[in-house]
């Protein structure tokens, strides 16, 4: 059984309600985009979990490397001035 006979892998994203972001919910194999949408509807929205579906070929996703985690994200740890709670203001304006 060779790999190129396998349908490609797709990642499925669902908008659970109007007004919310699409969120990753799982994966599936399908021959093309239309079939991926159809299968995603059958598998991931059997109990009205979604009002909109995105499907993306898994091999089209570019992802950060876990070994770069520290280099990418640690520099933000000491930038507490980016958060509103960093600023202590007089009581009169504290709900600013």
């Amino acid at each position: 059984m060779s790999n190129n006979k396998e349908w490609p892998l797709w990642e499925v994203f669902l908008r659970s309600r109007a007004g919310l972001d699409h969120k990753h919910c799982g994966s599936l194999h399908a021959a093309d985009g239309a079939m991926a949408l159809q299968l995603a509807r059958d598998v991931y929205t059997r109990r009205q979990e979604g009002v909109s579906i995105w499907v993306v070929r898994a091999d089209h996703i570019h992802a950060s490397d876990p070994t770069d985690k520290a280099a990418l994200f640690d520099p933000m740890a000491d930038k507490i001035y980016r958060h509103p709670t960093f600023y202590e203001l007089p009581d009169e304006v504290d709900h600013m």
């Binding site: 799982g26 599936l28 021959a31 093309d32 598998v43 876990p66 070994t67």
Partner: protein, 334 residues
């Protein structure tokens, strides 16, 4: 459970002993997993952890898919349209469970076709419970009540397992399982209020399924080969014997409501332990079924192989169509 064969030795051969620097990495990994940290697909992990997960998750997936067969046997003979639609929905859920789990296993670098090939050639196991026949309509109720009930006991702790994709698949599955158990109990409740013959049919189903259901939890802790490592890695959280006891304790009052008895003369509440005692399990039957000699092993595997082979032309045609469409779009754009 659905992954009972995790308790028997791995036949893939031993995992190579890691080099010294790998050992230090592994010790650090074990420590993190022990603390309850979540491991994701692209994170470094010891080869043995990856192998154990692939085995466990694929066995679990195979069980969901093979588990559709005994119930499928009753779709056309369900006693009403309502029961038929419920049963169809339940079986469809199980197909979905298989899909979520195959997808979780694929994140570990094994392909769907490799896993199916292992199932079809008999290399990979699925739960022993699905090698028993569904002889009457009451069996469908008992499967929902006891088989899905036992599965829930096992699956809830897996929602906290250390491997992220597996844990997330289990969360999704557990949300759907409660309907499975409730529809089974509801079906039996209807039988319990029915005729003498219907009550006898229910009792007969309980008699046949009770011991195989207790076997679902796998061998006793002292005989379970891979439990310790799985516990250390946070893949397994509660032992086979503990889960089995929880299940028996939870089931007794439910059986009373249905007015059924269980085929075990030693089954009684033990005040001192605060738990139900139960009789000795016939492990020779368990091993017999696990090793391929249960009442339906051959039939189940053949049904899976036939479905795969008879569907081959559909898979190929869909792929050929997709490639043709893509080529047309590309040509039009050029």
């Amino acid at each position: 459970m659905y992954t009972q064969a995790m308790d028997i030795p791995n036949t893939d051969g031993p995992t190579a002993v890691p080099a010294i620097n790998e050992q230090a990495r592994e010790a650090e990994f074990n420590e993190r997993a022990g603390r309850g940290e979540i491991v994701e697909a692209k994170d470094w992990m010891p080869e043995a952890y990856r192998k154990t997960l692939v085995r466990q998750i694929s066995q679990h997936a195979h069980s969901e898919i093979v588990g559709m067969l005994p119930e499928g046997n009753w779709v056309t003979r369900a006693p009403s349209l309502k029961r038929k639609t419920i049963l169809l929905a339940k079986i469809q859920d199980e197909g979905g469970h298989g899909l979520y789990l195959y997808a979780a296993a694929e994140t570990l670098g094994t392909s769907r076709d490799q896993m199916l090939d292992a199932l079809h050639t008999g290399k990979a196991k699925y739960s022993s419970i699905f090698n028993y026949p569904t002889l009457t309509w009451a069996d469908i109720g008992v499967i929902g009540w006891l088989v899905d009930g036992a599965a829930i006991m096992n699956q809830v702790p897996l929602c906290r397992c250390s491997y992220g994709p597996y844990a997330r698949a289990m969360v999704r599955i557990c949300k759907e399982e409660s309907f499975h158990q409730r529809q089974g109990f509801d079906l039996l409740l209807a039988l319990s209020k029915g005729s003498e013959a219907q009550r006898a049919m229910m009792q007969d189903a309980v008699n046949r399924w009770w011991w195989p259901v207790l076997m679902m939890f796998g061998p006793h802790d002292k005989d379970s080969q891979n439990s310790e490592l799985s516990m250390k890695w946070g893949i397994k959280r509660i032992s086979n014997d503990e889960l089995r006891q929880q299940f028996v304790d939870a089931t007794m009052p439910q059986g009373e409501l249905l007015g059924v008895t269980f085929p075990d003369p030693d089954l009684r509440y033990n005040e001192a332990r605060g738990h139900y005692d139960f009789g000795a399990i016939d492990w020779s039957e368990f091993w017999n079924v696990v090793n391929g000699h249960g009442p339906c092993n051959k039939e189940r595997l053949q049904a899976r192989v036939d479905a795969w082979e008879e569907g081959a032309w559909v898979r190929e045609a869909a792929l050929a169509h997709a490639r043709k469409q893509a080529a047309r779009v590309a040509a039009a754009a050029a």
